[in-house]
Amino acid sequence: MKRDVFDIALELLDHEVVDADGVPCGIVDDVELAGEPGKPLRAVALLIGPGTVADRLVWPFNVLVRRFVGRSRVRIPWRDVRAIDERIALRRSAQSHGLGDADRRCARLIARIPGSAR
């Protein structure tokens, strides 16, 4: 179903984001809007990453997130969004969007343990 109008709070913000392979690669932590007063407001990008979510949290949660989860921020241009459903689907792989770097680093660590592919 193609639509022009979305409820940002209910349908975009805080929804899970999956890449082209259906693998979770973040949550819509914020939405970048563009427009002037009196003119239509458009969503131009999704903002994803612990750095973005920390900005929305109060102390001590913002500090905890920055300290233990990270500070990364990734901007996904609106044209790279393929579908808006219960999950937000992207057009390309997480890596090509610059998402999941922390997962790839941790995966190298896990891969050293025998049986990690199981």
Binding site: D14, P24, C25, I27
Partner: protein
């Protein structure tokens, strides 16, 4: 045929996984202190956990959404973060208590130091989750937990007065001597309700449905598993209350150590009975340790949108894997520090009830949203029961901490 087998095993694992260290402690003590009067709370809690696990399983099967995604989507990032931190704390506490329980049970079999058994339990749990696929984790510990049925057998044999037991299902308060005794009764009612409706159960159940790749075709199976499995499972809690009445009350024993629970079975069936009872306790505690640990990792991964699930393989869900390993290690360190597992479980259960409303509210909203659920949206019965229990757990949550303080942590 395959569906029938899945249903059968699903029901059995739900029965075997029902009791953990918190329920065990509070059920035995409730019976020893207040007779059958708190059976109505177990019945009330069982219907509540059926209502909300049914919703959690249905939402997972239809929308593919686990509970923590819903919490963040529907109550927002700030309240979601509060719930996440509280849920992680409660999961680590509960996991720690279960690991302590395993060590205490093993100590009855071989008298090596408690801390050494904690280390052995940690290695055992890490290896079990690392090696076993999700379905096997569910089945090995769920089916092993069925050994707890031995408590049901002994309880049924020893019941003094069935009419008195059945009357316990009608809400009533016993005649007590003082206000502080009534306070303690209220504290036990809150704790018992919380122990039956622990929030990690919905996190684990919904995430497990996604691990098992449920689809909308599994909605009827989900319903049967929770209704039949949890009802039969709750009979184990009823049996423990009854053993509290018939065995521990006359002996004036306060069952404060998990291994003491095996006493009635040992009295009834000797050494063989004792071994079966201890094995049942071990599977129940180990199963709950794994469930609470994985629930913590599920919650964290779902809140931040990391790839998660045992079905992906360890290297394909790396931060999730690190999260569950860290949870086990933290829980083992906590319990090895020498804190009493039963004290830990008492606190974890009372704090659990505080996060129940924040867990149930988003679940109720999504399960009742036709845009998400289509024809599987909440019916009238689910809606009414859902709102009733949301109000009930909210009132209970408000009363929990004051009661914990006023009764000096249940010491009266």
């Amino acid at each position: 045929m395959e569906k029938a087998l899945e249903l059968f095993l699903g029901v059995l694992t739900a029965v075997g996984g029902f009791v953990e260290i918190g329920e065990l402690t509070f059920s035995l003590n409730a019976g020893a202190r207040f007779g059958y009067h708190l059976l109505s709370v177990i019945a009330l809690g069982t219907v509540g956990i059926i209502v909300y696990c049914e919703m959690a399983g249905r939402v997972a099967a239809v929308a593919g959404q686990p509970v923590f995604n819903l919490i963040r989507e529907r109550v927002g990032v700030s309240l979601g973060a509060v719930t996440l931190v509280a849920a992680l704390a409660v999961n680590i506490l509960t996991c720690a208590a279960e690991i302590g329980g395993i060590a205490l049970v093993w100590q009855l079999l071989a008298p090596i130091p408690y801390r050494a058994w904690v280390a052995v339990a940690l290695v055992f749990l890490l290896v079990a989750v690392w090696v076993l696929p999700f379905k096997w984790i569910e089945r090995v510990f769920g089916l092993g937990g069925l050994l707890m049925i031995v408590y049901l057998v002994v309880a049924a044999r020893d019941v003094r007065d069935w009419a008195e037991l059945l009357a316990g299902f009608i809400p009533s308060a016993p005649k007590l001597e003082s206000t502080s005794q009534y306070m303690l009764f209220a504290y036990y009612a809150v704790a018992l309700l919380s122990s039956v409706m622990l929030p990690y159960e919905t996190y684990f159940y919904a995430s497990g449905a996604i691990e098992d790749k449920w689809t909308p075709a599994d909605v009827p199976i989900n319903r049967v598993i929770v209704i039949v499995g949890f009802t039969l499972g709750s009979l184990l809690a009823v049996a423990l209350v009854s053993l509290g009445v018939t065995v521990f009350d006359p002996l004036h024993i306060e069952p404060q150590v998990p291994g003491v629970a095996a006493l009635p079975v040992a009295l009834a069936f000797g050494k063989a009975g004792l071994l079966v009872a201890l094995a049942g306790l071990f599977f129940a505690f180990a199963g709950a340790a794994i469930e609470t640990c994985l629930s913590g990792a599920y919650s964290l991964a779902q809140f931040f949108g990391w790839p998660w699930g045992r079905f992906r393989g360890h290297a394909s869900a790396p931060r999730f894997t690190i999260a569950w390993i860290a949870t086990f290690v933290l829980a083992a360190l906590l319990i090895a520090s020498g804190v009493d597992p039963v004290t830990v479980v008492e606190y974890s259960i009372v704090f659990s009830v505080v996060i129940l409303p924040l867990t149930y509210f988003p679940l109720l909203l999504v399960a009742g949203d036709p845009r998400v659920m289509g024809r599987h949206v909440n019916g009238r019965l689910s809606s009414w029961l859902g709102w009733f229990y949301l109000v009930l757990v909210t009132i209970t949550a408000l009363a929990a901490i004051p009661l914990l303080v006023l009764t000096h942590g249940g010491r009266g």
